[in-house]
Amino acid sequence: MNTGMDRLSAAINGVKSDRIPVFCNLIDQGARELGMPLKEYYAKGEHVAEAQLRMRVKYGYDNVWSLFYVGKEAELLGCANILYAKDGPPNVEDFVIKTYDDIARLEVPADITAHPAFAEEAECLRILKREAGGKYPICAYISSSMTLPAMLMGMEKWLELLLFGPAAVRDELIRKCHEIFVKEIKAYRDNGADVLVYSNPFGSTDTVPMKNFLEHSLPWIEKDITAVGTDGIVYYCGMSRFNKVIDIVLERVGIGAYYLSPLDDIAEGKKIIAGRGLTCGVINDLKLAEWTHDEIRAEVKRLINAGMPGGKFLFGTGVMPYNIPEENIRTMLEAAYEYGQWK
């Protein structure tokens, strides 16, 4: 029987297994699975690991996640207040950087694995590695050097600093975020993560103009990835489109997997990648709660038909909203397993 790892390896290498890999990113749904509020759920790594393993078996998809919530990275750098909801991802409530002086004071922990904010993630990874390691890809989420500042000071203040602020202050902040990025990647790899989702909305021309991408984003992408290597790295722009930069990222950085935006043209993305890497076609899961059974199947079919021919293709979701009914999740996955079969 094929495992998720078999399917992913086959897709990366351009060979056929039973079907294409299917990644389903159920994160907050783990709390519902264990019947507990989100705050209680995210307090323990063993909760997250147990729910991830249960949901993977229940639905049959190919990956598990070590991600708690995106704000965890801000906690590593001193964020003390996280705002919990009953039906969605926790938010950073208190920004670590309130003035430019806070940037000089920002301290990157010498050993992030010793940091309490990492301890529960490490526990989650330990259990996932023990139970699923080698069989199902273990995913981790890491913000790029250009993106982490948005979590530390808010997107509004970060964009202001990036576009209008003092260059020395801007560069000092990105440099510190690069340091934490390198440490995080090492920690995740050492603890068993196989797939490292490199999240970088600033790697998309939906966020910054091409000129700004070339002057700021690309050099920092090169620094980030040169420092950690491309092994397991997935280029992802937080649901923003990036077909326009794929070629240059491939040429200059050599990342081997691209998790497109649901708004990108998959066929076009795949054509640009041209066999040089894995194309991940992503469904617009914000519509999944309302779509009918037939609409879900038609959309899955459309995406797979656009991306599967010629192989090196993965079907994936965004960060699935909490309110999607289980029935709709099953309909989407069953359609992906059916249409994604190699005959």
Binding site: L83, A85, D87, G88, P89, N91, V92, E93, G154, M155, E156, L159, E160, L162, L163, F164, S204, T205, D206, T207, V208, P209, M210, K211, N212, M239, K244, P262, L263, N284, L286, K287, E290, P321, Y322, N323
Partner: protein
């Protein structure tokens, strides 16, 4: 001359070059263009060109929207101080992020653009309770409530737009106050504004300005 000013001003905006955009405005004023013409014949048409470009799938992005709003805000403040007569507001609105939502960028873009459209805006801040939206709208005689949400659960949740709609209904205010929503979930699902019972939505902060002015007209009629 104004056509040329609009052209070079917009080029500076698209290059996200604030200093150049401001210089163009200051040079135009020095050459005798009136402060009123700067706002109504340069800044606003430039915004409309950006909205048109976006609708034609032109490559406009978040940084350019932010830049447009920032400069519109700065230039409007500068020029208003030199207006011969201060125009009466095109309308009043209150704006904030939905309960549980800490993302402020979209709201800031909308506020900057509305300023140039002579709309009086009260910023209610982040993580705003539905009751607060309605109380403030009534207290300030606002014709529009703007609710920004960057996450699916804050857009759809029972403490967001749905609750604001319910409160307006209960208090018989639906004809007097309209609701506009915006943020990432609405871009990924263009029918979502109907599900959360808003009157309108906008694809981005720059476009929101025009939609809001249209809503004022709806309220007035």
């Amino acid at each position: 001359m104004l056509d040329r000013i609009i052209k070079v001003y917009n080029e500076a905006i698209f290059d996200t070059d604030r200093d150049r955009a401001l210089q163009i405005v200051h040079d135009a004023v020095a050459k005798g263009v009136s402060p009123e013409d700067i706002i109504f014949k340069v800044v606003l048409p430039a915004m409309d060109i950006m909205i048109k470009s976006i609708s034609e799938n032109f490559d406009a992005n978040l940084a350019q929207h932010f830049m447009t709003a920032q400069i519109a805000d700065t230039v409007t403040s500068e020029m208003l101080a030199r207006f011969k007569t201060i125009p009466s507001p095109a309308g009043r609105m209150v704006i904030g992020t939905a309960r549980g939502d800490m993302h402020s960028l979209g709201k800031r873009i909308v506020i900057g653009c509305l300023k140039a459209r002579m709309v009086e805006v009260t910023d209610l801040g982040l993580n705003v309770a539905p009751e607060h939206f309605v109380e403030e709208a009534v207290a300030r005689d606002a014709g529009v409530i703007g609710i920004s949400a960057m996450m699916s659960h804050t857009a759809r949740g029972d403490q967001g737009c749905l609750r604001v709609r319910q409160l307006l209904k209960e208090r018989g205010l639906e004809n007097r106050i309209k609701i506009i929503v915006g943020g990432a979930p609405y871009r990924f699902d263009t029918e979502l504004y109907k599900i959360v019972q808003a009157d309108a939505w906008a694809i981005d902060g720059v476009a929101a300005g025009k939609v809001i002015v249209d809503l004022f007209q709806e309220v007035q009629s």
